[in-house]
Protein backbone atom coordinates (compact mmCIF):
# COMPACT_ATOMS: atom_id res chain seq x y z
CA UNK A 1 0.00 0.00 0.00
CA UNK A 2 1.27 3.47 -0.82
CA UNK A 3 2.69 5.31 2.18
CA UNK A 4 0.73 8.49 1.45
CA UNK A 5 -2.56 6.60 1.32
CA UNK A 6 -1.76 4.81 4.56
CA UNK A 7 -0.96 8.11 6.30
CA UNK A 8 -4.06 9.72 4.86
CA UNK A 9 -6.17 6.84 6.17
CA UNK A 10 -4.54 7.07 9.60
CA UNK A 11 -5.34 10.78 9.80
CA UNK A 12 -8.94 10.13 8.78
CA UNK A 13 -9.24 7.35 11.36
CA UNK A 14 -7.88 9.57 14.09
CA UNK A 15 -10.42 12.25 13.19
CA UNK A 16 -13.31 9.78 13.07
CA UNK A 17 -12.28 8.41 16.45
CA UNK A 18 -12.98 11.89 17.76
CA UNK A 19 -16.39 12.10 16.11
CA UNK A 20 -15.46 13.98 12.95
CA UNK A 21 -18.32 13.40 10.50
CA UNK A 22 -16.53 15.05 7.59
CA UNK A 23 -13.71 12.54 7.86
CA UNK A 24 -16.29 9.77 7.85
CA UNK A 25 -17.91 11.25 4.73
CA UNK A 26 -14.49 11.21 3.01
CA UNK A 27 -14.06 7.54 3.82
CA UNK A 28 -17.58 6.87 2.58
CA UNK A 29 -16.95 8.64 -0.74
CA UNK A 30 -13.61 6.92 -1.12
CA UNK A 31 -14.75 3.37 -0.49
CA UNK A 32 -18.50 3.10 -1.08
CA UNK A 33 -18.25 1.96 -4.71
CA UNK A 34 -15.61 -0.65 -4.03
CA UNK A 35 -17.41 -2.05 -0.99
CA UNK A 36 -20.75 -2.08 -2.75
CA UNK A 37 -19.13 -3.92 -5.66
CA UNK A 38 -17.58 -6.49 -3.33
CA UNK A 39 -20.92 -7.07 -1.60
CA UNK A 40 -22.99 -7.20 -4.78
CA UNK A 41 -20.70 -9.82 -6.31
CA UNK A 42 -21.08 -11.87 -3.18
CA UNK A 43 -24.85 -11.61 -2.61
CA UNK A 44 -25.86 -11.24 -6.28
CA UNK A 45 -28.67 -8.81 -5.52
CA UNK A 46 -28.32 -5.04 -5.78
CA UNK A 47 -31.08 -4.43 -3.26
CA UNK A 48 -29.54 -6.65 -0.62
CA UNK A 49 -26.09 -5.24 -1.41
CA UNK A 50 -27.42 -1.73 -0.81
CA UNK A 51 -28.84 -2.73 2.58
CA UNK A 52 -25.64 -4.49 3.59
CA UNK A 53 -23.42 -1.61 2.45
CA UNK A 54 -25.48 0.95 4.42
CA UNK A 55 -25.31 -1.23 7.51
CA UNK A 56 -21.63 -1.74 6.91
CA UNK A 57 -20.82 1.98 7.04
CA UNK A 58 -22.85 2.43 10.19
CA UNK A 59 -20.94 -0.41 11.82
CA UNK A 60 -17.64 1.08 10.64
CA UNK A 61 -18.50 4.36 12.38
CA UNK A 62 -19.56 2.59 15.55
CA UNK A 63 -16.44 0.44 15.61
CA UNK A 64 -13.97 3.26 15.04
CA UNK A 65 -15.58 5.64 17.53
CA UNK A 66 -16.10 3.13 20.30
CA UNK A 67 -13.43 0.45 20.02
CA UNK A 68 -10.31 0.96 22.15
CA UNK A 69 -8.09 -0.72 19.55
CA UNK A 70 -6.90 1.25 16.56
CA UNK A 71 -7.23 0.14 12.97
CA UNK A 72 -3.87 -0.43 11.29
CA UNK A 73 -4.93 -1.00 7.68
CA UNK A 74 -8.21 0.75 6.92
CA UNK A 75 -8.81 -0.84 3.52
CA UNK A 76 -8.29 -4.35 4.86
CA UNK A 77 -10.46 -3.55 7.87
CA UNK A 78 -13.34 -2.34 5.66
CA UNK A 79 -13.30 -5.53 3.60
CA UNK A 80 -13.11 -7.67 6.74
CA UNK A 81 -16.24 -5.96 8.02
CA UNK A 82 -17.96 -6.36 4.63
CA UNK A 83 -17.03 -10.01 4.56
CA UNK A 84 -18.47 -10.56 8.04
CA UNK A 85 -21.74 -8.86 7.12
CA UNK A 86 -22.08 -10.97 3.97
CA UNK A 87 -21.44 -14.07 6.07
CA UNK A 88 -24.10 -12.90 8.57
CA UNK A 89 -26.49 -12.38 5.71
CA UNK A 90 -26.02 -15.92 4.43
CA UNK A 91 -26.29 -17.29 7.94
CA UNK A 92 -29.66 -15.60 8.52
CA UNK A 93 -31.20 -16.28 5.10
CA UNK A 94 -29.61 -19.71 4.66
CA UNK A 95 -30.14 -19.63 0.93
CA UNK A 96 -28.34 -18.66 -2.22
CA UNK A 97 -29.85 -15.61 -3.80
CA UNK A 98 -30.46 -15.45 -7.54
CA UNK A 99 -28.59 -13.15 -9.82
CA UNK A 100 -31.07 -10.30 -10.01
CA UNK A 101 -30.10 -8.62 -13.16
CA UNK A 102 -27.48 -8.46 -15.83
CA UNK A 103 -24.47 -6.24 -15.38
CA UNK A 104 -25.37 -2.62 -15.11
CA UNK A 105 -23.03 -0.74 -17.36
CA UNK A 106 -22.50 2.88 -16.46
CA UNK A 107 -21.13 5.01 -19.27
CA UNK A 108 -20.19 1.96 -21.23
CA UNK A 109 -21.39 3.16 -24.61
CA UNK A 110 -17.95 2.56 -26.03
CA UNK A 111 -17.98 -1.12 -25.08
CA UNK A 112 -19.23 -3.51 -27.72
CA UNK A 113 -21.86 -6.16 -27.17
CA UNK A 114 -19.40 -9.05 -27.23
CA UNK A 115 -17.40 -7.61 -24.35
CA UNK A 116 -20.56 -6.97 -22.34
CA UNK A 117 -21.83 -10.47 -22.89
CA UNK A 118 -18.48 -11.88 -22.04
CA UNK A 119 -18.40 -9.88 -18.82
CA UNK A 120 -21.86 -11.16 -17.93
CA UNK A 121 -20.57 -14.70 -18.42
CA UNK A 122 -17.55 -13.98 -16.26
CA UNK A 123 -19.79 -12.63 -13.53
CA UNK A 124 -22.03 -15.69 -13.73
CA UNK A 125 -19.01 -17.93 -13.61
CA UNK A 126 -17.75 -16.02 -10.60
CA UNK A 127 -21.06 -16.45 -8.84
CA UNK A 128 -20.76 -20.21 -9.25
CA UNK A 129 -17.49 -20.35 -7.35
CA UNK A 130 -17.55 -21.41 -3.69
CA UNK A 131 -17.72 -18.45 -1.26
CA UNK A 132 -14.07 -18.16 -0.23
CA UNK A 133 -12.77 -18.71 -3.77
CA UNK A 134 -15.13 -16.04 -5.00
CA UNK A 135 -13.80 -13.63 -2.36
CA UNK A 136 -10.14 -14.09 -3.19
CA UNK A 137 -10.78 -13.65 -6.93
CA UNK A 138 -12.77 -10.44 -6.31
CA UNK A 139 -10.17 -9.08 -3.91
CA UNK A 140 -7.20 -9.95 -6.10
CA UNK A 141 -8.37 -9.22 -9.62
CA UNK A 142 -11.30 -6.84 -9.24
CA UNK A 143 -10.18 -4.82 -6.21
CA UNK A 144 -6.45 -5.15 -6.83
CA UNK A 145 -5.32 -6.33 -3.39
CA UNK A 146 -1.93 -7.95 -2.91
CA UNK A 147 -1.68 -11.51 -1.56
CA UNK A 148 -0.55 -10.32 1.87
CA UNK A 149 -3.49 -7.93 2.14
CA UNK A 150 -5.98 -10.61 1.10
CA UNK A 151 -4.40 -12.92 3.65
CA UNK A 152 -5.02 -10.31 6.36
CA UNK A 153 -8.64 -9.93 5.29
CA UNK A 154 -9.54 -13.60 5.11
CA UNK A 155 -7.36 -14.59 8.06
CA UNK A 156 -5.05 -17.01 6.25
CA UNK A 157 -1.32 -17.03 5.55
CA UNK A 158 -0.10 -15.38 2.30
CA UNK A 159 1.06 -18.79 1.05
CA UNK A 160 -2.34 -20.37 1.69
CA UNK A 161 -3.99 -17.38 0.01
CA UNK A 162 -1.82 -17.82 -3.07
CA UNK A 163 -2.81 -21.49 -3.32
CA UNK A 164 -6.48 -20.60 -2.82
CA UNK A 165 -6.32 -17.98 -5.54
CA UNK A 166 -4.61 -20.35 -7.94
CA UNK A 167 -7.29 -22.99 -7.41
CA UNK A 168 -10.08 -20.42 -7.69
CA UNK A 169 -8.84 -19.10 -11.03
CA UNK A 170 -8.39 -22.64 -12.31
CA UNK A 171 -11.95 -23.48 -11.32
CA UNK A 172 -13.32 -20.27 -12.82
CA UNK A 173 -11.59 -21.07 -16.09
CA UNK A 174 -13.11 -24.56 -16.02
CA UNK A 175 -16.60 -23.18 -15.36
CA UNK A 176 -16.31 -20.61 -18.14
CA UNK A 177 -14.92 -23.15 -20.62
CA UNK A 178 -17.77 -25.53 -19.79
CA UNK A 179 -20.31 -22.72 -20.33
CA UNK A 180 -18.82 -21.81 -23.69
CA UNK A 181 -18.98 -25.28 -25.17
Amino acid sequence: MKLSRRIEDQILLLKIKHGDQEAFAIIYDKYVDALFRFVVFRVRSEEIAQDITSELFLKIWQHITTSPTNVENLRAFLYQMARNLVADHYRTTQETLPLEEAIEVEGSGAKDLNVRLSLAEVEKGLSNLPGEWQEVVILAYIEGFKHAEIAAIIGKSPAATRVLLHRAIKELKRILNQATY
Binding site: S4, R37, Q50, L126
Partner: protein, 387 residues
Protein backbone atom coordinates in the same frame (compact mmCIF):
# COMPACT_ATOMS: atom_id res chain seq x y z
CA UNK B 1 -10.13 -18.57 -22.38
CA UNK B 2 -6.60 -18.20 -21.11
CA UNK B 3 -5.65 -16.89 -17.65
CA UNK B 4 -4.49 -13.44 -18.82
CA UNK B 5 -7.66 -12.90 -20.73
CA UNK B 6 -9.74 -13.96 -17.76
CA UNK B 7 -7.84 -11.61 -15.42
CA UNK B 8 -8.32 -8.80 -17.91
CA UNK B 9 -12.06 -9.51 -17.99
CA UNK B 10 -12.20 -9.48 -14.20
CA UNK B 11 -10.47 -6.06 -14.13
CA UNK B 12 -13.00 -4.87 -16.66
CA UNK B 13 -15.83 -6.18 -14.52
CA UNK B 14 -14.55 -4.16 -11.57
CA UNK B 15 -14.33 -0.96 -13.54
CA UNK B 16 -17.95 -1.02 -14.69
CA UNK B 17 -19.69 -2.10 -11.51
CA UNK B 18 -20.58 0.88 -9.34
CA UNK B 19 -23.13 1.69 -6.70
CA UNK B 20 -26.21 3.44 -8.17
CA UNK B 21 -25.60 7.20 -7.91
CA UNK B 22 -28.97 8.04 -6.36
CA UNK B 23 -28.70 5.36 -3.70
CA UNK B 24 -25.14 6.44 -2.94
CA UNK B 25 -26.16 10.04 -2.29
CA UNK B 26 -29.26 9.16 -0.30
CA UNK B 27 -27.34 6.72 1.87
CA UNK B 28 -24.61 9.28 2.46
CA UNK B 29 -27.10 11.86 3.74
CA UNK B 30 -28.94 9.30 5.86
CA UNK B 31 -25.73 7.99 7.42
CA UNK B 32 -24.47 11.45 8.26
CA UNK B 33 -27.75 12.18 10.02
CA UNK B 34 -27.61 8.89 11.89
CA UNK B 35 -24.12 9.45 13.18
CA UNK B 36 -24.72 13.04 14.22
CA UNK B 37 -22.73 13.73 17.36
CA UNK B 38 -23.22 16.56 19.77
CA UNK B 39 -19.75 16.84 21.24
CA UNK B 40 -16.42 16.57 19.49
CA UNK B 41 -14.03 14.65 21.70
CA UNK B 42 -10.87 16.74 22.29
CA UNK B 43 -7.53 15.36 21.08
CA UNK B 44 -4.94 14.41 23.67
CA UNK B 45 -1.42 15.86 23.43
CA UNK B 46 -0.02 12.58 22.12
CA UNK B 47 -2.73 12.41 19.45
CA UNK B 48 -2.07 15.99 18.41
CA UNK B 49 1.60 15.15 18.04
CA UNK B 50 0.85 12.05 15.98
CA UNK B 51 -1.60 14.00 13.86
CA UNK B 52 0.93 16.81 13.25
CA UNK B 53 3.63 14.33 12.37
CA UNK B 54 1.38 12.41 9.97
CA UNK B 55 0.36 15.68 8.27
CA UNK B 56 4.02 16.63 7.78
CA UNK B 57 4.81 13.20 6.35
CA UNK B 58 1.81 13.45 4.04
CA UNK B 59 3.03 16.81 2.74
CA UNK B 60 6.53 15.47 2.17
CA UNK B 61 5.47 12.08 0.78
CA UNK B 62 5.00 13.10 -2.88
CA UNK B 63 8.27 15.05 -2.95
CA UNK B 64 10.50 11.96 -2.82
CA UNK B 65 13.04 14.03 -0.93
CA UNK B 66 13.76 11.49 1.75
CA UNK B 67 15.79 9.00 -0.36
CA UNK B 68 18.01 11.73 -1.81
CA UNK B 69 18.70 13.52 1.45
CA UNK B 70 19.08 10.24 3.30
CA UNK B 71 21.67 9.00 0.80
CA UNK B 72 23.71 12.17 1.23
CA UNK B 73 23.37 11.98 4.98
CA UNK B 74 24.31 8.29 5.09
CA UNK B 75 27.40 9.06 3.01
CA UNK B 76 28.42 11.79 5.46
CA UNK B 77 27.51 9.84 8.58
CA UNK B 78 28.97 6.62 7.21
CA UNK B 79 32.45 8.15 7.32
CA UNK B 80 33.67 6.22 10.36
CA UNK B 81 35.47 8.74 12.65
CA UNK B 82 32.66 11.17 12.09
CA UNK B 83 30.09 8.48 12.76
CA UNK B 84 31.60 7.58 16.16
CA UNK B 85 31.89 11.22 17.17
CA UNK B 86 28.31 11.79 16.13
CA UNK B 87 26.91 8.82 18.03
CA UNK B 88 28.65 9.88 21.23
CA UNK B 89 27.92 13.59 20.95
CA UNK B 90 26.09 15.09 23.89
CA UNK B 91 23.90 18.17 24.35
CA UNK B 92 26.06 21.26 24.07
CA UNK B 93 28.45 19.64 21.60
CA UNK B 94 28.55 21.16 18.08
CA UNK B 95 27.78 17.72 16.63
CA UNK B 96 24.70 17.19 18.74
CA UNK B 97 22.25 19.02 16.40
CA UNK B 98 23.59 16.87 13.52
CA UNK B 99 22.96 13.74 15.58
CA UNK B 100 19.37 14.82 16.16
CA UNK B 101 18.91 15.56 12.46
CA UNK B 102 20.28 12.16 11.54
CA UNK B 103 17.78 10.57 13.91
CA UNK B 104 14.93 12.36 12.17
CA UNK B 105 16.05 11.05 8.80
CA UNK B 106 16.46 7.56 10.08
CA UNK B 107 12.92 7.79 11.38
CA UNK B 108 11.55 9.01 8.06
CA UNK B 109 13.04 5.96 6.35
CA UNK B 110 11.04 3.59 8.53
CA UNK B 111 7.67 3.01 6.97
CA UNK B 112 5.90 0.54 9.26
CA UNK B 113 4.42 1.73 12.52
CA UNK B 114 6.09 -1.15 14.38
CA UNK B 115 9.58 -0.22 13.26
CA UNK B 116 8.91 3.45 13.92
CA UNK B 117 7.63 2.62 17.39
CA UNK B 118 10.76 0.64 18.19
CA UNK B 119 12.93 3.49 16.97
CA UNK B 120 11.00 5.93 19.16
CA UNK B 121 11.75 3.65 22.11
CA UNK B 122 15.45 3.77 21.17
CA UNK B 123 15.32 7.55 20.99
CA UNK B 124 13.61 7.74 24.38
CA UNK B 125 16.45 5.61 25.80
CA UNK B 126 19.06 7.89 24.20
CA UNK B 127 17.49 11.00 25.73
CA UNK B 128 17.61 9.38 29.16
CA UNK B 129 21.29 8.51 28.77
CA UNK B 130 21.93 12.12 27.80
CA UNK B 131 20.05 13.42 30.87
CA UNK B 132 22.51 11.47 33.03
CA UNK B 133 25.42 13.37 31.54
CA UNK B 134 23.85 16.80 31.90
CA UNK B 135 24.79 18.73 34.98
CA UNK B 136 21.97 19.31 37.46
CA UNK B 137 22.66 23.03 37.21
CA UNK B 138 21.74 23.05 33.53
CA UNK B 139 18.03 23.06 34.30
CA UNK B 140 16.90 24.09 30.80
CA UNK B 141 18.75 21.29 28.96
CA UNK B 142 17.59 18.75 31.51
CA UNK B 143 13.99 19.88 31.05
CA UNK B 144 14.30 19.73 27.27
CA UNK B 145 15.69 16.20 27.36
CA UNK B 146 12.91 15.04 29.68
CA UNK B 147 10.36 16.62 27.36
CA UNK B 148 11.94 14.90 24.34
CA UNK B 149 11.90 11.64 26.25
CA UNK B 150 8.18 12.08 26.91
CA UNK B 151 7.46 12.94 23.27
CA UNK B 152 9.38 9.93 21.96
CA UNK B 153 7.72 7.60 24.41
CA UNK B 154 4.34 9.10 23.49
CA UNK B 155 4.99 8.28 19.83
CA UNK B 156 6.18 4.80 20.74
CA UNK B 157 2.98 4.30 22.70
CA UNK B 158 0.88 5.49 19.74
CA UNK B 159 2.56 2.94 17.50
CA UNK B 160 1.95 0.21 20.09
CA UNK B 161 -1.73 1.09 19.98
CA UNK B 162 -1.90 0.98 16.18
CA UNK B 163 -3.40 -2.33 15.24
CA UNK B 164 -2.72 -5.52 17.11
CA UNK B 165 0.99 -5.80 17.86
CA UNK B 166 2.74 -9.13 17.66
CA UNK B 167 3.78 -11.00 20.79
CA UNK B 168 7.42 -10.17 20.10
CA UNK B 169 6.62 -6.49 19.83
CA UNK B 170 4.66 -6.49 23.09
CA UNK B 171 7.59 -8.29 24.78
CA UNK B 172 10.09 -5.78 23.42
CA UNK B 173 8.02 -2.89 24.71
CA UNK B 174 7.66 -4.58 28.06
CA UNK B 175 11.40 -5.13 28.44
CA UNK B 176 12.35 -1.71 27.07
CA UNK B 177 10.01 0.18 29.39
CA UNK B 178 11.34 -1.85 32.31
CA UNK B 179 14.86 -0.64 31.53
CA UNK B 180 13.66 2.92 30.96
CA UNK B 181 11.84 2.92 34.30
CA UNK B 182 14.95 1.63 36.09
CA UNK B 183 17.07 4.37 34.49
CA UNK B 184 14.52 7.04 35.31
CA UNK B 185 14.31 6.00 38.95
CA UNK B 186 18.00 6.67 39.56
CA UNK B 187 17.84 10.19 38.16
CA UNK B 188 17.53 13.23 40.37
CA UNK B 189 15.78 16.02 38.55
CA UNK B 190 16.38 19.66 39.34
CA UNK B 191 13.57 21.01 41.57
CA UNK B 192 12.20 23.03 38.65
CA UNK B 193 11.97 19.86 36.54
CA UNK B 194 10.08 17.72 39.02
CA UNK B 195 6.82 18.07 37.10
CA UNK B 196 8.23 17.01 33.72
CA UNK B 197 10.08 14.18 35.47
CA UNK B 198 6.83 13.02 37.06
CA UNK B 199 5.18 13.00 33.62
CA UNK B 200 8.07 10.85 32.37
CA UNK B 201 7.60 8.38 35.24
CA UNK B 202 3.83 8.21 34.71
CA UNK B 203 4.11 7.76 30.96
CA UNK B 204 6.73 5.03 31.30
CA UNK B 205 4.58 3.19 33.77
CA UNK B 206 1.55 3.58 31.47
CA UNK B 207 3.34 2.14 28.43
CA UNK B 208 4.78 -0.64 30.53
CA UNK B 209 1.31 -1.55 31.88
CA UNK B 210 -0.12 -1.53 28.37
CA UNK B 211 2.64 -3.82 27.08
CA UNK B 212 2.03 -6.19 29.99
CA UNK B 213 -1.71 -6.15 29.34
CA UNK B 214 -1.06 -7.02 25.69
CA UNK B 215 1.16 -9.92 26.70
CA UNK B 216 -1.52 -11.23 29.01
CA UNK B 217 -4.24 -10.84 26.40
CA UNK B 218 -2.08 -12.52 23.76
CA UNK B 219 -1.58 -15.42 26.09
CA UNK B 220 -5.38 -15.62 26.34
CA UNK B 221 -5.98 -15.49 22.61
CA UNK B 222 -3.03 -17.55 21.45
CA UNK B 223 -1.50 -19.98 23.85
CA UNK B 224 1.46 -20.64 21.54
CA UNK B 225 2.56 -17.00 21.50
CA UNK B 226 3.26 -16.42 25.20
CA UNK B 227 3.90 -19.28 27.58
CA UNK B 228 1.97 -19.47 30.85
CA UNK B 229 5.18 -19.61 32.88
CA UNK B 230 6.42 -16.49 31.14
CA UNK B 231 3.25 -14.53 31.95
CA UNK B 232 3.23 -15.83 35.51
CA UNK B 233 6.86 -14.71 36.00
CA UNK B 234 6.18 -11.30 34.53
CA UNK B 235 3.14 -10.79 36.77
CA UNK B 236 5.14 -11.98 39.80
CA UNK B 237 7.80 -9.33 39.03
CA UNK B 238 5.10 -6.69 38.82
CA UNK B 239 3.66 -7.85 42.16
CA UNK B 240 7.12 -7.68 43.76
CA UNK B 241 7.49 -4.07 42.58
CA UNK B 242 4.14 -3.08 44.05
CA UNK B 243 4.97 -4.88 47.31
CA UNK B 244 8.23 -2.97 47.62
CA UNK B 245 6.39 0.30 47.16
CA UNK B 246 3.75 -0.76 49.68
CA UNK B 247 6.44 -1.48 52.27
CA UNK B 248 7.66 2.08 51.88
CA UNK B 249 4.12 3.41 52.29
CA UNK B 250 3.51 1.34 55.40
CA UNK B 251 6.79 2.47 56.94
CA UNK B 252 5.71 6.07 56.47
CA UNK B 253 2.27 5.34 57.95
CA UNK B 254 3.98 4.01 61.11
CA UNK B 255 5.73 7.34 61.53
CA UNK B 256 2.50 9.31 61.78
CA UNK B 257 1.83 10.75 65.24
CA UNK B 258 -0.74 8.60 67.05
CA UNK B 259 -3.53 11.13 67.34
CA UNK B 260 -3.03 12.93 64.07
CA UNK B 261 -5.76 12.49 61.46
CA UNK B 262 -4.52 10.05 58.80
CA UNK B 263 -4.70 11.17 55.17
CA UNK B 264 -7.49 9.59 53.18
CA UNK B 265 -7.46 7.88 49.81
CA UNK B 266 -10.21 7.49 47.19
CA UNK B 267 -10.89 3.90 46.10
CA UNK B 268 -12.28 4.53 42.62
CA UNK B 269 -13.59 0.98 42.08
CA UNK B 270 -15.66 1.18 45.26
CA UNK B 271 -16.36 4.92 45.06
CA UNK B 272 -15.35 5.34 48.70
CA UNK B 273 -12.83 7.40 50.63
CA UNK B 274 -10.85 5.48 53.25
CA UNK B 275 -7.87 6.18 55.53
CA UNK B 276 -4.54 5.54 53.88
CA UNK B 277 -3.81 2.50 56.10
CA UNK B 278 -7.00 0.84 54.88
CA UNK B 279 -6.16 1.63 51.25
CA UNK B 280 -2.74 0.09 51.65
CA UNK B 281 -4.28 -3.01 53.28
CA UNK B 282 -6.71 -3.28 50.38
CA UNK B 283 -3.77 -3.07 47.96
CA UNK B 284 -2.05 -5.89 49.85
CA UNK B 285 -5.20 -8.05 49.75
CA UNK B 286 -5.46 -7.48 46.00
CA UNK B 287 -1.91 -8.67 45.54
CA UNK B 288 -2.62 -11.81 47.57
CA UNK B 289 -5.68 -12.49 45.39
CA UNK B 290 -3.59 -11.88 42.26
CA UNK B 291 -1.09 -14.51 43.42
CA UNK B 292 -3.89 -17.04 43.85
CA UNK B 293 -5.25 -16.21 40.41
CA UNK B 294 -1.82 -16.62 38.85
CA UNK B 295 -1.55 -20.06 40.44
CA UNK B 296 -4.82 -20.94 38.68
CA UNK B 297 -3.52 -19.49 35.37
CA UNK B 298 -6.24 -16.82 35.44
CA UNK B 299 -3.87 -14.13 34.22
CA UNK B 300 -6.43 -11.61 32.98
CA UNK B 301 -8.09 -11.37 36.39
CA UNK B 302 -4.72 -11.41 38.13
CA UNK B 303 -3.56 -8.47 36.05
CA UNK B 304 -6.73 -6.60 36.96
CA UNK B 305 -6.01 -7.13 40.66
CA UNK B 306 -2.38 -6.05 40.25
CA UNK B 307 -3.47 -2.91 38.41
CA UNK B 308 -6.01 -2.06 41.13
CA UNK B 309 -3.30 -2.59 43.69
CA UNK B 310 -0.86 -0.38 41.72
CA UNK B 311 -3.46 2.36 41.60
CA UNK B 312 -4.13 2.17 45.35
CA UNK B 313 -0.42 2.08 46.14
CA UNK B 314 0.27 5.11 43.97
CA UNK B 315 -2.55 7.02 45.66
CA UNK B 316 -1.43 5.95 49.13
CA UNK B 317 2.15 6.88 48.30
CA UNK B 318 1.04 10.31 47.11
CA UNK B 319 -1.07 10.79 50.26
CA UNK B 320 1.71 9.85 52.71
CA UNK B 321 4.33 11.84 50.77
CA UNK B 322 2.10 14.90 50.87
CA UNK B 323 1.53 14.40 54.58
CA UNK B 324 5.26 13.91 55.16
CA UNK B 325 6.12 17.05 53.18
CA UNK B 326 3.57 19.07 55.12
CA UNK B 327 4.89 17.78 58.42
CA UNK B 328 8.47 18.43 57.33
CA UNK B 329 7.59 21.93 56.21
CA UNK B 330 5.83 22.64 59.49
CA UNK B 331 8.82 21.37 61.44
CA UNK B 332 11.16 23.37 59.24
CA UNK B 333 9.19 26.56 59.68
CA UNK B 334 9.13 25.99 63.44
CA UNK B 335 12.90 25.53 63.52
CA UNK B 336 13.44 28.56 61.33
CA UNK B 337 11.31 30.68 63.61
CA UNK B 338 13.20 29.51 66.65
CA UNK B 339 16.56 30.19 65.06
CA UNK B 340 15.79 33.48 63.32
CA UNK B 341 16.60 36.70 65.22
CA UNK B 342 13.56 38.71 66.20
CA UNK B 343 14.66 41.66 64.14
CA UNK B 344 14.32 39.57 60.97
CA UNK B 345 10.94 38.08 61.69
CA UNK B 346 9.52 41.02 63.50
CA UNK B 347 8.82 38.81 66.47
CA UNK B 348 9.95 39.03 70.06
CA UNK B 349 10.64 35.93 72.04
CA UNK B 350 10.34 35.67 75.76
CA UNK B 351 8.30 37.63 78.24
CA UNK B 352 6.50 40.61 76.80
CA UNK B 353 7.03 42.51 79.97
CA UNK B 354 10.78 42.61 79.35
CA UNK B 355 12.07 45.93 78.07
CA UNK B 356 12.72 46.26 74.33
CA UNK B 357 16.24 46.55 72.98
CA UNK B 358 15.83 50.22 72.40
CA UNK B 359 14.11 51.83 75.34
CA UNK B 360 13.60 54.97 73.30
CA UNK B 361 11.20 53.16 71.00
CA UNK B 362 7.56 53.56 71.84
CA UNK B 363 6.04 50.29 73.05
CA UNK B 364 2.43 51.12 72.33
CA UNK B 365 2.72 51.07 68.52
CA UNK B 366 2.37 47.62 67.07
CA UNK B 367 2.29 46.10 63.60
CA UNK B 368 0.20 43.10 62.63
CA UNK B 369 1.77 39.69 63.13
CA UNK B 370 3.23 38.08 60.04
CA UNK B 371 1.48 34.85 59.03
CA UNK B 372 4.23 32.61 60.21
CA UNK B 373 2.24 30.07 62.22
CA UNK B 374 3.85 27.80 64.81
CA UNK B 375 5.86 29.74 67.37
CA UNK B 376 4.94 33.01 65.70
CA UNK B 377 1.34 32.65 66.74
CA UNK B 378 2.34 32.73 70.38
CA UNK B 379 4.59 35.76 70.01
CA UNK B 380 3.81 39.11 71.52
CA UNK B 381 3.08 42.32 69.60
CA UNK B 382 6.18 43.64 67.93
CA UNK B 383 7.64 47.09 68.25
CA UNK B 384 8.16 49.04 65.05
CA UNK B 385 11.72 48.38 63.96
CA UNK B 386 14.08 51.30 63.94
CA UNK B 387 14.69 52.85 60.54
Amino acid sequence: MNKDNLIHQLHELGSIKRAPALWREQTRSRLLKQIEVTAFKPFSLAERLVYGWQQTRLTLAPMHLAPVIATVLIMVIGYSPFSVALATSLPGSPLYPVKRLAEKFELSLRSSSDSQGLFYLTLAGRRLSEVKTVSGADVATQAELFRDYNINLGFAQASLETGLPSTDLAKTYDQATDILAANLNVLTPAPANRQVYKVALDLTSKVSSRALALLVSQHGSNGDGVKSAEVADRLATEIAKVEAKLEGVEAKIQLFPENSPAPRVVITSKATVVPVAEASKQAKDNLAEAKELIARNEFGLALQKVQESEDLTAKSEAAVTEEETTTEEEAKSETELEETPATETGEVKGDSTEPTEDPAKPTSEVVPQPESGGAGEAAEPTPIPQQ
